[in-house]
Point group: C2
Chain length 420, copies 2
C-alpha cells in the first residue's frame, strides 16, 4: 500500500495559493501507485495537530480544477509557528501520532518564511524521532521575501492588482485635480519588504507619471524631502499619487502608522499609514486628498490575477509532488528565471535549511536615486511577473469561486490535543 | 454652416464616463451636416468659462473608440456648480460670450445631480438671455441617486467592483478566521444613498454568506444591535464581513467617521468610517480585524467594469446627441427597464427640470427586515446592473488606457474670466 500524503496551507492567503493546491492534488492523483489518499489539514498545521483532516479524494476533478481560479485558502489557513523541537516536543510527538495513525508519508506545506521553517522542523523531526516522512515546502507569499527563488507565487498577482489600481486611481485624480483632490494616497501591504510598493511603479508609462512617490520600508521616511517632492509633483503634474507601504518607518525606527496617533479615548490608533500620510500633506501643504487602503482586497483579487503567477503557483505545487516522488526531502521548489526578455522561467529547488528564516528585501539598486521610485533594473525584474490575465469564470456578474465539500477524515488517534 | 457643440464632464468621475464621451463624439461625427466641431471643456464647465476648449476633431477614431475602455474623465472634470441666474449673471453672460465666439449651438453636460442642475440653468439662460442653445444632460454618477432613470451609468461598475471585492475578501477572511482575523470591514462610497453598499449584498450566494452586515446611510447606526450581530456572525460563521457606507450616521445625525476621533494634535480626524467600526468591534468584542477603504479604486476600476454599465454609458451619450438632433431641449436620456428576467432596457428621456436637485435614496423595501442587508426585491433590481465583463486590452500586464492629445482651440473672446 502506498503511503498517504498531507497538504496544508499556512499564513496569509493569496489569490493563487489554491492553484498550488490544485497542482499538488492533481499531480498526486496521477501517481496512485506511490501516493494513496491526499489529506488536507483543516487550517494548516493545526489540522494535523488536532487531527482535523480533510479527505480531498472526495472532491470532483472539476472542483479541484476550479481551485486554479479561486482565491484564499480552500482548506483554511493558520498563523501558527511550530517552536523548536527542544522547546515543544509534545507538538512533534503529536504530529507523529497523527501521521502514523493515518499512514502519512508525505508532508507538503504551502506557505511563506515561517511555514518553510515549520516544514524544515518537521523534516528534522522525521530524522530525530525516527518517523521517516518526506517533507516538501511549497512557496507562497505576497511579500515576495523568500530567498533563493527568483520570486514567490502570490506576489505577481498582488503586484498586478497594485499596478493596475495605481494606474486607474491616477487617471481619476488627474481628472479631478483642478478643483478637487490633488493628492491620492494608496496604502499597500509589505511590513518589512517593499516589493509590493515597488510594483506600483509599473503603473508609470512616461516620465512624470504616477505614482510620483513610493514610500518603501527600506527607506527611512524623511518628512521634509517628502513634502518638497509632493509640492513639486502638484506644481508640475497638477496632482500627486503616493503609494505607501504599511511598513514605512521614521528616523527613530517606528512605524509611521503608529506615530503618536490616538483616538478620542486615548488609545493608540491601530494601523493605517495612508491617513497619516494624507493628513500630513493636508496639514503642511493644504492640498485636498483622498486615500485608499487596499488591505485584503489586494491579496484576494483573483479577478485580476497575473497569468504568470497562476502558472507558477500551479507549477510549484506540481513540482513539490514530483520532487517527493524523486526521493528528494527537506526541499522547496523554486522559480528560476532563465531570461528577462522574453521572460523565461523553469522550476528548480532549494534546501529548506537555506530558505527558513531568511528574508529578502528590495536590493538598493532596485530603488531610484532619490529613493521615491524604482530603477530600470527593478522594472525589468517586476514586469514579467504581472504579465498576462487569467480571468475566472463568472456567473450572474460575479466570479464563480469554488467551495469544496471538505469532508472530514474519521479520527483514529482517540486522543485530543489542545493547540496553545 | 452647422453649429458647433460643447461637451464636458462634471463631478466625481467614473470608470465609464468616457464611454459616454465616446457615444457623444462618435454620434456627433456621424452628422456633420448638423453638428460642426465638437469642443470639449477642459475641466468641465470651467473650460467654458475660461475659454479652455479642446478640439476633439483632432483625435483619431481609434483614440475615441479607446475611451470606451478608459476610466476617469479624459477632458478633466470639475466640482463647480453654477449659481442661479439672478445670483451670478456674470457667469452666464460669460458662457454666452464664449459660446457665441465659437458658434456653439449644442451643450452636452455629463454628470450627476449638480451637473443636471447646471444643464438646466444653462437651458434657462438660453431662453432668458436670448441665446438659443440646445441643452442635453448626460447622466453619470456612481451614487445611482438620480431620479426617473432606472439606474445611472457609472453605478453598475462600482457595484460590480464592490460585490466582487466583498466576495474575494470574504473568502480570504474565512480562511484566516480560526487563528487570525475574524472581522473584515470594507468602506465604500455613498454619502447620502446606500446603493453602493447595497451592491455588496450581491456577493452573498447562500444564507449566512458574507457580507453578514451592511451599514447603510439610510439606517441609523445602533451600536448595541450591531455588536450583537457581529458576535452572532462570528459564533455561527466563524467570521464577519461588514460593508460600511461612508455616510452612516449615529442617532444624533452625525457621520460615524467624524464621531469624536481626533489625531495627536487634537484635530478632528478626517474621513475613514472603516477604522471607526473596526476599532469599535475590537474594543467591545476583542476580535482581530482588518479593514479596507476602497475610495477612488472602486470608481476607477475599469478593469472590472460591468458590461451592462459600459453599454448603457455609451447609449446615453449617443442618445444625447440624437435627442438634440430631434429638436429636444432641456432633457436628459434615461435608462428604462422593460423587464427584470431576462433583463431588458431601452433609452428614454426626462425633463431636466424634473431631474435637477432630486436625490433618490434606497427605498425601505430594498432593505432586509433587520436593516443589515438587502431584500430580494433589491437583489432583483441590482443583479442585472453588474452583469457581464468588458475587459480593457492589456499591454505589458497593464490596461492600455488612452490619453488624448487634448489640443486646445484658439481663444477668440480676447477676454479673461476668473472662476471663483
Amino acid at each position: 500500500m502506498p503511503k498517504n500524503a498531507f497538504y496544508a496551507q499556512s499564513g496569509g492567503v493569496t489569490s493563487v495559493i489554491n492553484a498550488s493546491a490544485a497542482g499538488v492534488i492533481e499531480t498526486a492523483r496521477k501517481h496512485p501507485d506511490k501516493i494513496g489518499k491526499l489529506y488536507a489539514g483543516r487550517n494548516g498545521i493545526i489540522g494535523a495537530l488536532t487531527e482535523n483532516l480533510i479527505d480531498t479524494s472526495q472532491e470532483s476533478e472539476a472542483n479541484i480544477a476550479a481551485l486554479k481560479h479561486t482565491p484564499s485558502g480552500a482548506f483554511g489557513s493558520c498563523r501558527y509557528k511550530l517552536k523548536g523541537l527542544e522547546e515543544n516536543k509534545a507538538e512533534y510527538e503529536r504530529l507523529i501520532e497523527v501521521f502514523k495513525a493515518h499512514d502519512i508519508g508525505y508532508f507538503f506545506y504551502n506557505g511563506g518564511g515561517d511555514s518553510q521553517d515549520t516544514s524544515h522542523k518537521v523534516s528534522q523531526m522525521g530524522e530525530s524521532l525516527g518517523y521517516p516522512i518526506t517533507c516538501i515546502g511549497v512557496p507562497k507569499t505576497i511579500d515576495n521575501d523568500l530567498p533563493i527563488t527568483d520570486n514567490c507565487p502570490g506576489f505577481g498577482s498582488v503586484a498586478k492588482y497594485v499596478a493596475v489600481s495605481t494606474r486607474e486611481a491616477a487617471f481619476d485624480v488627474a481628472s479631478m485635480a483642478l478643483t478637487s483632490t490633488k493628492v491620492f494616497v494608496l496604502e499597500v501591504m509589505g511590513r518589512h519588504a517593499g516589493w509590493i510598493a515597488a510594483a506600483a511603479g509599473l503603473a508609470a508609462e512616461f516620465d512624470g507619471d504616477a505614482p510620483q512617490i513610493i514610500l518603501f520600508p527600506e527607506v527611512t521616511f524623511d518628512q521634509e524631502k517628502f513634502l518638497t517632492r509632493v509640492k513639486q509633483s502638484v506644481d508640475n503634474q497638477g496632482y500627486c499619487v503616493i503609494v505607501v507601504s504599511e511598513g514605512v518607518k521614521n528616523a527613530e525606527g517606528r512605524f509611521l502608522a503608529e506615530s503618536g496617533r490616538k483616538d478620542a479615548f486615548g488609545h493608540a490608533q491601530l494601523g493605517g499609514v495612508a491617513p497619516v500620510i494624507a493628513q500630513l500633506v493636508n496639514t503642511e501643504l493644504g492640498y485636498k486628498y483622498h486615500y485608499a487602503v487596499s488591505d485584503y482586497l489586494q491579496r484576494a483579487a483573483r479577478h485580476i490575477a497575473s497569468k504568470t503567477d497562476v502558472e507558477q503557483a500551479y507549477a510549484v505545487g506540481k513540482a513539490a509532488v514530483e520532487l517527493a516522488l524523486e526521493g528528494k526531502n527537506a526541499v522547496m521548489p523554486t522559480i528560476v528565471r532563465t531570461a528577462d526578455e522574453p521572460y523565461r522561467w523553469e522550476v528548480g529547488f532549494a534546501q529548506l535549511a537555506d530558505v527558513a528564516n531568511v528574508e529578502k528585501t528590495l536590493p538598493p539598486d532596485y530603488l531610484s536615486d532619490d529613493g521615491f521610485g524604482i530603477s530600470d533594473k527593478c522594472r525589468r525584474y517586476l514586469s514579467p511577473l504581472i504579465e498576462g490575465e487569467d480571468y475566472p469564470p463568472y456567473t450572474n456578474g460575479l466570479p464563480a469561486y469554488v467551495r469544496l465539500k471538505n469532508a472530514p477524515v474519521a479520527k483514529k488517534t482517540g486522543s485530543d490535543f489542545k493547540v496553545k
